[in-house]
């Protein structure tokens, strides 16, 4: 059987937020800051108010000034007194149509008194840099320290700095380089959108392009003084997530506006707004030092990350995150030290993207591993083989994992490797990259099973289907556990007031979480006394943490005259346990890898003085079918998965290692090392000339 949503998506019947209209609904648009850092001297809304169709124009003084956020609560609904990035919401118009709202918003006049601005993490923590949030320490959820730069959201350390330095000084071989992983957008093709219908403080309904509805309920409630239970997030179809649809975005604003005008308010962003005021991934500068002994055993690693968090820090799950940026997850490192500087700048606020931080960090680490191998004079593959974690080893966080299958995956990748010829006159290169992603068994969700006619059941879930096939997986797991055909099971998304909980899609944990709740549900269903609905819920962590290794091998051809390069073949070799839905699993592998390739070669959130210069998809290039290389997949079965379903993570596995894999292949072809993403023909050309 195909996906539960295949027919409705292929016919255009699926309803996304932008497709929904409510009776009496009106439209909002915002005037955005044109200054990266400034005091707001005056906002003149008189012309906008007189525009046709306008119902009201609102600024910060008209609505709640309570800040919102996920853990760090630092974001205003509308800028109050000060703007901190180009694209920040300053004033909002509500009008009878979207066009009228947008036309009027363009007529709002805002006078700014410019302040000195700062755009990179390294600059922002220098002595004397302009202070972006004078009251960082007092924000709810703040973990900033008074002894650090006022722009430092969080300065975290792991390991022993002195020991790592000492080990590096006495190592036979060392490398020390700086790498830069640039900012990119998640690239979902559905722009952020919201409809809020504030009927009363006891009755608020929200349709939002968001994958974590219970979390949004709490965040909107907190900043508007509404009991979260009185806010009901409605089921929606989501047009892509990749980490970018986890923040409340414009839900607090639309809810406040709906309260003001007493009608449902809809706001759909243009893609240009999404690129300038969404929540793209952090740009990260990394200083890496690696050491090895004469035999090629790693001795020490130092990883210092400077993470550009943009103007607000509210959208990442932990103010300490994204943790992946400074992790070194696959190797045995006797002396390890990492430092994560997460820093405010006057740029677009940052959020999560598929394996948060790991794409940036892995680019640097896996590039440096290659560089060290060459310095030692070892084959980069053999150098990795020698240092991969094995059973009994602890990783750089001091954790022991249930298994380490790096060697099996590496061997499987090499066994499956077949060289592909480069076009005549082009340089051939092969590169490798390794990544291991660990995930927990934490599960927090709930479902209801209701018997319907003819022995069929209806399964209700608040889990938002982000596109991965989660609702289809739910149907399959239930079919297996209840021993009934999938055709007799209907899966229906429901609102947050229908069921108690769902943590939202993320952390590569959806399938494992569904398997856990299906186990509980199946028992309750089998033991039910009468033919009535049952509700099953899970909320906790069984303590089992599992990992999955991935080895990528890229074969590239580089044109020596122009620097242009082609990916001849891209291989993903992955450690797997049971696979519930092979096609959905495969699409995570291919789609994740192509996203990695796009981010590493085409995409670049090109910020100049805080202004995104390529704020449209004509200039911000996503990979097309023509850009996708031939993929080869090698599954290495036999791993230990989570729960009775025995599943491993997959959604965030293939994106992070891509950047280094390609940079290593380009090095192999050209003997030139590119240490800053994206990898472009221009950079390769310059490097070959230089």
């Amino acid at each position: 059987m195909s996906r539960v949503d295949a027919e409705s998506k292929a016919t255009g019947r699926s309803r996304y937020v932008a497709d929904i209209s409510l009776p009496n609904m009106v439209y909002a648009a915002v005037a955005r800051s044109t200054s990266a850092h400034a005091k707001i001297k005056k906002i003149d809304t008189s012309v906008a108010e007189a525009c046709p169709g306008v119902i009201g124009v609102f600024t910060a003084k008209d609505i709640s000034q309570i800040l919102y956020g996920r853990n760090l609560i630092d974001t205003p609904i509308l800028a109050n007194e000060k703007v901190r990035f180009i694209g920040e919401r300053v004033a909002a118009v509500v009008a009878n149509s979207r066009k009228e709202a947008e036309d009027a918003a363009a007529m709002i006049e805002i006078d700014y008194e410019p302040l000195e601005a700062v755009y990179t993490a390294r600059e922002a923590i220098k002595e004397g840099a302009p202070v972006i949030h004078p009251d960082t320490l007092s924000y709810k959820g703040s973990i900033a320290k008074p002894e650090n730069s006022p722009n430092m959201i969080w300065l975290g350390h792991k390991g022993d700095k002195l020991a790592a330095e000492l080990a590096l000084e006495t190592s036979a071989f060392t490398v020390e380089h700086s790498y830069r992983a640039h900012g990119v957008h998640q690239g979902y093709l559905e722009p952020q959108a919201c409809i809020a219908d504030f009927q009363s403080p006891e009755n608020v309904r929200i349709w939002l392009t968001n994958k974590a509805p219970y979390r949004v309920r709490n965040m909107v409630g907190d900043c508007l003084g509404i009991e979260p239970e009185n806010i009901v997030l409605q089921p929606i179809t989501l047009g892509g997530d990749f980490g970018g649809k986890g923040s409340p975005q414009d839900a607090p604003l639309c809810t406040a506006l709906s309260q003001k005008v007493g009608r449902p308010v809809k706001m759909v962003l243009h893609y240009s707004e999404d690129l300038t005021a969404g929540n793209p991934r952090h740009a990260v500068d990394l200083d890496i030092r690696l050491g090895a002994d004469a035999e090629g055993n790693l001795t020490a690693a130092m990883v210092i990350g400077y993470l550009n968090a943009g103007a607000y820090g509210s959208f990442t799950p932990s103010a300490k995150g994204p943790a992946g940026a400074t992790q070194l997850s696959s190797y045995r490192v006797p002396a390890f030290y990492s430092e994560s500087n997460r820093v405010y700048t006057n740029t677009v606020p940052r959020g999560n993207m598929r394996a948060p931080g790991a794409s940036q960090g892995t680019f640097a680490i896996e590039s440096a591993m290659d560089e060290l191998a060459h310095k030692i004079g070892m084959d980069p593959i053999e150098f990795r083989r020698k240092n991969l974690l094995v059973e009994g080893d602890k990783d750089t966080d001091g954790e022991h994992w249930i298994e380490h299958r790096g060697h099996e995956v590496l061997d499987a990748a090499l066994a499956a490797f077949t060289p592909v010829e480069a076009p005549p006159g082009w340089l051939y290169g092969r590169g490798m990259s390794v990544y291991s992603r660990h995930t927990t068994s934490a599960a927090s969700t709930s479902i209801r099973i209701t018997p319907v006619d003819d022995g069929c059941i209806r399964v209700e879930t608040p889990l938002i289907e982000t596109g991965t096939g989660s609702h289809t997986v739910l149907r399959q797991l239930l079919a297996d556990q209840l021993g009934m055909p999938s055709a007799k099971i209907e899966v229906v998304g429901v609102a947050t007031d229908e069921l108690p909980r769902d943590a939202g899609a993320g952390g590569s944990r959806v399938t494992a979480g569904l398997a856990t709740v299906v186990d509980v549900a199946a028992k309750a269903w089998m033991n039910r006394l009468r033919d009535e609905p049952i509700v099953a819920e899970v909320d906790g962590d069984s303590g089992v943490h599992i990992g999955s290794y991935i080895v990528q091998i890229a074969q590239v051809a580089v044109d020596p005259d122009t620097g242009q390069f082609k990916i001849l073949e891209f291989m993903n070799a992955i450690d797997v346990a049971a696979i519930i839905n092979p096609l959905a699993h495969q699409m995570q592998i291919d789609g994740g890898a192509l996203m990695g390739i796009g981010c590493a070669t085409l995409e670049n959130l090109d910020e100049q003085q805080g202004q995104v210069w390529n704020a449209n998809l004509g200039e911000y290039k996503l990979s097309s079918a023509r850009d996708a290389p031939p993929f080869k997949t090698v599954l290495v079965p036999g791993g230990i998965g989570i729960g009775t379903a025995n599943v491993k993570n997959i959604g965030e596995s293939t994106t992070p290692p891509v950047g280094a894999c390609l940079a290593n292949a380009i090095f192999d072809a050209t003997k030139r090392r590119i240490r800053d993403l994206p990898l472009t023909a221009e950079k390769i050309y310059e490097a070959m000339r230089g």
Binding site: A6, K9, A10, T11, G12, M587, G591, S623, A625, A628
Partner: protein
């Protein structure tokens, strides 16, 4: 001003602004199967068929469709079951926001070059972006549809 065209085989008339884009006219008239993604004619989510050729309706002035024969995903999948079946069977989708555009472009390729090879399929479909799938299942869906013709 008034727009008259044939939409999915039926007469269609609407009062429109002279600067209205076709995507907006369709969506305001309940044809929400056609999606707006990038808004600048790049991503292909808004692809519809005008006189048998694919156009990006987000940059196509509605007035230009005066007297034209316009087909959207709703109409094409209801008149051509092979088209729908190909995408359902091969699961040429994940989040689905680009799918209506992919389906319409696939149909257009069927008119223009039904014997397209893999490279020609990818070339023709390059105007329909997908962030989810990596394009393997979409390309297979198109192949399956062309083979059915």
């Amino acid at each position: 001003m008034k727009l008259s065209m044939t939409l999915n085989g039926e007469p269609f008339a609407a009062e429109i602004g002279s600067d209205a884009m076709l995507v907006d006219v369709l969506r305001l008239n309940q044809f929400t199967g056609t999606k707006e993604g990038c808004g600048v004619g790049v991503c292909g989510a808004c692809t519809v068929l005008v006189n048998n050729g694919p156009v990006s309706s987000c940059i196509y002035l509605a007035v230009m469709a005066e007297g034209a024969e316009v087909w959207t995903v709703e109409g094409l999948t209801s008149k051509d079951s092979d088209l729908l079946n190909a995408f359902v069977e091969k699961e040429g989708m994940q989040c689905g926001i680009c799918t209506p555009g992919q389906v319409v472009s696939c149909y257009a390729l069927g008119i223009e070059n039904p014997s397209a090879n893999e490279e020609e399929i990818r070339e023709f479909m390059a105007g329909n972006l997908c962030r989810c799938t990596g394009y393997v299942t979409i390309t297979e869906s198109v192949r399956t549809y062309l083979d059915s013709k």
